[in-house]
Symmetry: C3
């Protein structure tokens, strides 16, 4: 049961994040194959890293061919209809929030199943959510937008935290997953709509602007 829950959330998140990877790849003029590679990286790096860290080896995305197929499908769709996909990039932003919620919840759930300490399980849920986006951005040599985008990592952590909290309070996993997903989505939605964000430090000196930040995924 929990296994199916994790699988469905994982594949859903993979699809959405693979689209975001493909869009960045097209923007940076990678060829058709590079687009597929970046789709896979963005869609699966978070889950693969989580699986390596909790000792679920080989990782699900390597053992189960469906992850590749889903990633390739998302990459192909984006590649073939990029101008169309682009026009809906605002909607992709919402989709991305849904993917983030899926991954955060699935990541925390799987870590708990593997007997990881609750606090670390919540952090692994967050990592599952932001890992793919981080690799995507590092590969095109930008600072990961997930480290700067409003409440992005925090929303993932909050969602994962709810799952872990539910586990500690012995709530049914499906309910905790739904609640965690909603918290993550709600935070991202408020951040996108209302511009909620966290403070930066008073850095006490001039800016160190990063010319590579291209706001992908924002």
């Amino acid at each position: 049961m929990m296994h199916i829950l994790v699988l469905v959330l994982d594949l859903g998140g993979t699809f959405v994040f693979a689209i975001s990877g493909a869009m960045v790849a097209v923007k940076y003029r990678l060829d058709a194959f590079g687009v597929l590679v970046l789709s896979f990286a963005a869609g699966n790096a978070g889950g693969i890293t989580r699986d390596l860290l909790i000792g679920a080896i080989p990782p699900a995305a390597i053992e189960d061919w469906r992850y590749v197929v889903v990633s390739a499908l998302a990459g192909t769709i984006t590649f073939l209809w990029y101008p169309v996909t682009r026009r809906y990039s605002r909607d992709v932003l919402w989709l991305d929030a849904v993917g983030l919620a899926f991954f955060a919840v699935a990541g925390a759930e799987k870590a708990l199943v593997h007997g990881i300490h609750p606090m670390m399980a919540a952090l692994l849920g967050m990592l599952t959510g932001i890992g793919g986006g981080m690799l995507r951005d590092v590969l095109v040599s930008g600072i990961p937008t997930v480290l700067r985008t409003d409440l992005y990592a925090l929303a993932a952590l909050a969602g994962a935290g709810v799952v872990v909290g539910g586990h500690l309070l012995q709530v049914a996993p499906t309910m905790a997953a739904v609640a965690g997903g909603c918290v993550c989505l709600a935070l991202r939605f408020m951040a996108i709509r209302r511009g909620w964000h966290l403070p930066s430090a008073r850095s006490g000196h001039g800016a160190a602007p990063d010319n590579h930040d291209d706001g992908n995924g924002r």
Copy 2:
């Protein structure tokens, strides 16, 4: 037998890729030690990642000291005779294609031996081939050229795919390895000579050029 085959191909590929890593390191003015580190990274990141993902832990490049020695040798040669190495950089390009073929074949073979699903074994062969070049470029903060260079990743996948096909058809591993290597080489050679390449998407907007792409390895 298969173990020796993988070892020879792996060490050969490591040597060639370590040279490519060292050349990039020299170009970016890393010091002698940084050159050795980048040699090791470029020569072994693909194989190490493959081993982590298939559960062959510790990875061969950590368990077996020969990988480090081969990498250090390649790095030292490149460092000491950089102007010479540079003059032959066209030949290094061909060597690099040979290394790619070695790695793609060895990677697929090893994944099969570890009982990975055939489709994933082919992809792991590709990853073994392109992983080192990707880390090399990310460390000097460029977009990985392997994601843009003509047919690079695709040639690796094709070679690995032949190995996997041979496995499914129960061809002798050595023969499948030779055939796979030849396919990979042939594709890269045509790409270099004739400029074969895959299409990019119509991105529907201006370029997002990347100033860091320095065409290393091309």
Copy 3:
């Protein structure tokens, strides 16, 4: 006993490197949460990579919640009092050398305990020392300063090498650790004070300067 030695050195190194990660994050204007993420990455990437490579899975930094707490503490302090921290950045440089010594020694020790070949154990000690700084710099898209900073990686390797040498000569681990730490510190101190550094290759062509190098940690 050796376990406690590794733990203390690891946590100490984590704290210091987490500060360096947080300082870079603040400089690049990440928000409060991004600062914490980069603190954790800089403080733990080296140890996590080492643990994955030697098969100590889940890695200590995932299994033991103290690593996260120490990283978060360092990140929070840096974030809240950045102008103050910044004023003492020269002292942070010395602290960083101490962290490097801690990590190099702990990394080599742990690899030996896991039965890794001595030469590879020394290299894994080095990797433990420089891994966090490398990820930190890659995430803000610079060339890792650890690959260019004077004798940085070499000092780590020397310290780790002393630990391994002590192991081979059956010296008491604590003594070998102290000696190794001193060697690493001494090399870094001389490099900082006297400008000791390794030669670069005669690259035989114009510079390929990297605009992102911001000398963090120097």
